[in-house]
Subunit: 292 residues, 2 copies
């Protein structure tokens, strides 16, 4: 799916998890918030103007009735965001353990239930909360748990440019209002078709939502390219490793630790990426060019 069909109500639907006829079914809502609102502003000359502002909503996640976290989100893909968050935090390990993911914007709550319904202390003890905007916990444990990517994947410059052109052609919330980050997962094939594109007020939410979509669709990172508008920090690299994606592309820059981690973990970092321009920071041998 490129972007799930969305309805602006909270009525849950049932999704089979897997292809078996008796596959367990996940009860999940498709509740999306309006992307932007109109604001009245005053410019430098004192004149009134109207501009679009992206939404930001608090969403408190309850896992088997225990409060986990409050996420501040644009609200475009809240169910995928929460599933991806729970997966990346190690709070739910198996997709088939999920019973329901219900978002109710009237209360600002998302109720997630599982079949195993394990005690919260047990889950929380395994939790690795880190935020990547400079504030986090148990970073060392998280890092230790990661395995470097073992891959012989290559990426043609022409494919990278096709991916970037495809993203630029999207009608995004960012184009309307700015102030949001966007992430995308594309196929590493010459046409670079888009699997998922998500925007959110924080890029880590956007990454978690992509993780959530991949989880639901049982997609792996192999044969994929991950794009983000935000900078590549250590946490972004670790999420790429968790997702199994060898190519991490950003319109922006990166930090030293992201570079070192990517080198060690086998992720190719491509920054300052535009159609026709980019810089490859790690494992550049994977990037191929058509001979002139």
């Amino acid at each position: 799916m490129t972007e799930p069909a969305r309805v602006d109500d909270d009525a849950p639907i049932e999704i089979p998890l897997g292809d078996a006829p008796d596959a367990p079914r996940l009860s999940i809502t498709r509740a999306r918030r309006p992307a932007t609102a109109t604001a009245q502003v005053v410019d430098h000359e004192g004149l009134p103007r109207e501009v679009e502002v992206p939404g930001e909503h608090a969403l408190t996640v309850y896992l088997d009735k225990h409060e986990v976290v409050t996420l501040m989100t644009l609200g475009q893909a809240p169910e995928a965001l929460i599933m991806g968050y729970l997966r990346n935090q190690g709070l739910v390990e198996s997709l088939t353990d999920l019973k329901s993911v219900h978002v109710d914007w009237s209360t600002g709550a998302c109720a997630v239930t599982t079949h195993s319904a394990r005690a919260p202390l047990e889950r929380m003890a395994k939790r690795t909360v880190t935020t990547g905007c400079g504030q986090g916990t148990m970073f060392g444990d998280w890092l230790d748990a990661l395995q470097p990517l073992a891959t012989d994947a290559t990426l043609a410059v022409a494919t990278l440019d096709a991916a970037l052109a495809r993203i630029l052609a999207l009608d995004t919330i960012y184009k309307r209002s700015g102030s949001v980050h966007g992430c995308a997962l594309l196929h590493n094939t010459p046409e670079a078709p888009l699997l998922y594109h998500v925007e959110d007020v924080g890029r880590h939410n956007a990454v978690d939502a992509i993780t959530g979509f991949m989880w639901l669709d049982e997609e792996t990172g192999a044969g994929k390219i991950f794009y983000t508008t935000g900078r590549l920090t250590s946490e972004m690299v670790m999420k790429a490793v968790q997702m199994g994606v060898p190519f991490l592309v950003s319109r922006s820059g990166l930090t030293q630790m992201a570079l070192k981690l990517a080198e060690d973990m086998g992720v190719t970092l491509i920054c300052r990426a535009r159609v026709g321009r980019h810089l490859v920071y790690t494992h550049p041998h994977r990037i191929t060019r058509t001979p002139e």
Copy 2:
């Protein structure tokens, strides 16, 4: 102080907290990391180039020997960052309760000790952890604890432009390498002198470091302007309220919740700010112009 004199070693110094002759003394290091490193990259044509990359370092904070959090930081003002973080999270309430703040980069640890040395469970129970990049906890509690700013402060457009010009004139890490955010606190007077300027990989770190400097210097937000390169989210607005600064200026945009909070909390938000251009989103009556 605009920026404390820094030495690249960890030897602590003693700072008196307050003006009294018998004022308690804080033992504090001044340990700064190199701002950038040089990276070898490959460009779109396959040619090698050298670029600067900002540093990013994990710093684990121990409060009276109990692990609190790991912060990912550029490392330009780690002591101020940690003090500001602890203050903003409500983990240390009084400046004079602080005994020592010692950063040791060789272990990636900052040991903070207090005179009261309260039990960690007591502190943690009061903790409000939120990250502002879309992931946080106990948002509602934090919000409930804030009081709206009561102020009749005004800001002249000429002063705002002077502040922006002063910031643009700084020799910043951003100018060398990109990929970092910067925050500044300036006086709301015609020359807009700069009190503090901090850059970090995450803007919330930069804000916390400014909070730390203000705390040490016993500065209030009254009569000040706060500038950030990052977007204004709900968390940025709440920190402005906590700091008591009525004018929050960003080069970038904002979210809907930031706008609503600022309206309710009495903070003037000014976005898309350049010298000679800006948009005022809330409480625009506070902005004054010289008649033509």
